[in-house]
């Protein structure tokens, strides 16, 4: 029994020594592999550096020969980079005094800024789903090569998040600009899709002005823009009163910009789009004027655009529906009132309501709805129209051809909807819909 136990102990000692010997061999093999990998990596880096040098050399030639008067001197970029580098992004070396290295740094800088802006735009445009889609597609590719989907997806999402964080840290301005542009694109695309759908759902919001309608003159455009700007100021003032504070010049400037642009957009037709444009521009303009765009600017712009579109769209559609259902007489009164407003803005006085016949050179009479006067002299004969499907009669068509002072004013129900919906959307307090805090006055972009 004892002999057997001794033999067993000797066998176990032999096994241990055999295992130790194999471990030593394995470590040596790993070291040799690492050395080989290191050698290979250095070779690849040398090749990449030589290729990059050749590329930069070519770029330098182009820059120096073609655009040397436009591009800044290389030395001027030496103070451009001041933020700490991130481990997950390429380290941006300070530019040296040598032109080649400076141009190389400029190219790398420009490329990195552009890429960060593009990633920011993509994130904003896709509401952050772009990263997930990208990681998911990559993970599917990894699965085809035998990897686990879940692990690969998590790994790639972590990479995307790290890259976004690094962009936010190192290329904050570029990323924020990209996000704002992405939000703008998102609003445009959404408006292009939802605008016609919304109009299809609410027939009262439809209606195309007849071709002979007199276009806005400069005074009318200026009055429209001024009314939009005034609505913006009123909205900001209400916001100030509600918060018991005094808004900054940037707040009021942004409100004027947003209101003005919204009013001009509303004349084009879709009040929901105009509300979105007003909200977007007001938010961006306020942040810009109050110290610069920041990380929350894009999200805030998106939220205010969505709220603006919602309020303006709902109010505008409701009012348009009401106007479309007015009795015939009331529609007549409304059309005449719109023409009177236009006359006032144009600086003309409107004559009495009673209609008189005007003989046409080609025979027959027309009965203009209004006549305008300036300094006591007759100016224009106004044919007012109100309604989605109103057109000119054959006699009125004849008048547009034969009379030089015959003006057609055509307003549609959605005009009245826009005239009420847009100001309400501009005046409306946004805070209920926004989760992003407004940039504090005097703050600067990170």
């Amino acid at each position: 029994m004892r002999q057997f136990q001794d033999a067993l102990r000797r066998g176990a000692g032999d096994m241990k020594s055999w295992i130790a010997a194999r471990e030593v061999e394995l470590q040596r093999g790993l070291q040799r592999s690492e050395q080989a990998l290191d050698t290979y990596r250095r070779g690849v880096e040398r090749a990449a550096q030589s290729a990059q040098s050749a590329l930069v050399s070519k770029a330098e030639q182009l820059i120096e020969t073609g655009a040397s008067r436009i591009l800044p001197r290389p030395a001027a970029r030496s103070t451009a980079v001041s933020k700490p580098p991130s481990p997950s992004t390429p380290t941006r070396k300070p530019a040296s005094a040598q032109p080649g290295q400076a141009a190389q740094g400029w190219l790398q800088e420009a490329t990195a800024q552009t890429a960060a802006a593009a990633r920011g735009a993509q994130d904003a445009f896709t509401l952050g789903l772009g990263d997930q889609a990208y990681a998911g597609l990559g993970a599917v590719g990894d699965v085809l090569q035998g990897d686990d989907f879940g692990a690969s997806y998590q790994k790639r999402m972590a990479q995307e998040r790290a890259r976004d964080a690094a962009d936010a840290q190192n290329f904050a301005a570029a990323r924020t600009t990209g996000q704002v542009l992405g939000v703008g694109g998102q609003v445009l695309v959404t408006g292009a899709l939802l605008g016609p759908w919304g109009a299809a759902l609410v027939p009262a919001a439809q209606g195309v002005r007849i071709g002979q309608t007199a276009p806005l003159i400069l005074r009318e455009t200026a009055a429209l823009a001024g009314a939009g700007g005034a609505a913006g100021v009123i909205g900001q003032a209400i916001d100030d009163v509600a918060h018991w504070k005094v808004g900054t010049p940037g707040d009021y400037g942004g409100a004027i910009v947003g209101g003005t642009l919204g009013a001009l957009a509303a004349w084009r037709g879709n009040v929901a789009r105009a509300g979105a444009a007003a909200g977007l521009t007001e938010s961006v303009a306020q942040d810009t004027l109050n110290g610069g765009l920041n990380a929350q600017s894009a999200a805030r712009a998106r939220e205010t655009a969505a709220a603006g579109a919602t309020v303006a769209g709902l109010v505008g559609a409701s009012v348009a529906k009401h106007m479309d259902g007015l009795p015939i007489k009331a529609k007549g009164v409304m059309g005449e009132r719109v023409s009177r407003v236009r006359n006032f803005v144009r600086g003309h006085k409107t004559g009495p309501t009673k209609k008189t016949a005007h003989k046409l050179p080609g025979g027959g009479h027309t009965f203009p709805d209004l006549r305008t006067y300036k300094n006591g002299l007759p100016q224009q004969l106004i044919e007012s129209k109100f309604g989605r499907k109103a057109h000119l009669s054959p006699r009125q068509i004849q008048a547009t051809i034969e009379l030089n002072n015959y003006r057609v004013d055509h307003s549609v129900p959605r005009d009245i909807g826009a005239a009420l919906g847009l100001p309400i959307s501009v005046i409306f307090p946004w805070d209920w819909a926004t989760t992003q805090p407004q940039l504090e006055p005097g703050a600067t972009a990170p």
Binding site: I328, K329, K355, F367, L420, I427
Partner: protein
């Protein structure tokens, strides 16, 4: 422009005017048909045409006028701003047909009801064909006025007569005050703004 045209056949002018509560303005010169709130003139075939820009109501006044004759009475009303027009035809005081043009009703640009005379179908077909050929021109709008012109001879946008008699309402004319205008927009807007401001006060953190 809003205008109402009423034509009555086979009856004395005084009878029609009395039914409508109108009388000639003593000493007033004659003029064209839009010179006065109410005007009237006789036409060949025993037709009397009464016009007004603002104050005749086709639904009630045409019925009153039609009740004075055992022949035809026709009338139309036009609203050129929303481009809405309609006409009615009476015989022996009974409504025979109606034609309505509503620009918003694309399926039926000229809705017709009743026992239609041949001229209605003819004018309707002509207008719809012209409208189909020339997009953007409302030929159907004129059909109700063309019907009145067909019967009475009065073409409202070609008439150059200056012997229209100026009329005024008598005390007997039934007063039909228009419904008081319900201008609710401004109160609603003010209430809405007040609500928003109060809401903001309430939700201040």
């Amino acid at each position: 422009m809003r205008a109402t045209l009423i034509g009555v056949q086979g009856v004395e002018l005084e009878v029609v005017l009395a039914a409508l509560g109108l009388e000639p303005i003593p000493g007033a010169p004659t003029g064209d048909w839009v010179d006065c709130d109410y005007s009237c003139r006789t036409f060949p075939g025993g037709w009397i045409v009464v016009t007004s820009q603002l104050n005749l109501d086709l639904a009630t006044d045409l019925e009153l006028a039609a009740s004075t004759t055992d022949q035809m009475a026709v009338g139309c009303e036009m609203y050129s701003i929303p481009m809405h027009s309609y006409a009615h035809g009476y015989r022996n005081g009974q409504l025979e047909w109606s034609v309505t043009h509503d620009p918003d009703d694309e399926a039926r640009p000229l809705a017709v009801e009743g026992t239609l005379p041949a001229i209605v179908a003819e004018l309707r077909a002509k207008a719809l064909k012209a409208q189909a050929d020339e997009d953007g021109v409302d030929f159907a709008f004129d059909v109700p006025m063309q019907l009145v012109a067909h019967y009475t001879g009065f073409v409202y946008d070609e008439d150059e007569a200056t012997d229209w008699v100026r009329l005024r309402a008598t005390a007997a004319r039934p007063v039909r005050p228009e419904r008081p205008r319900r201008n609710l927009w401004w109160p609603l807007l003010l209430i809405g703004l007040l609500f928003l401001v109060l809401w903001r006060w309430w939700t201040i953190p």
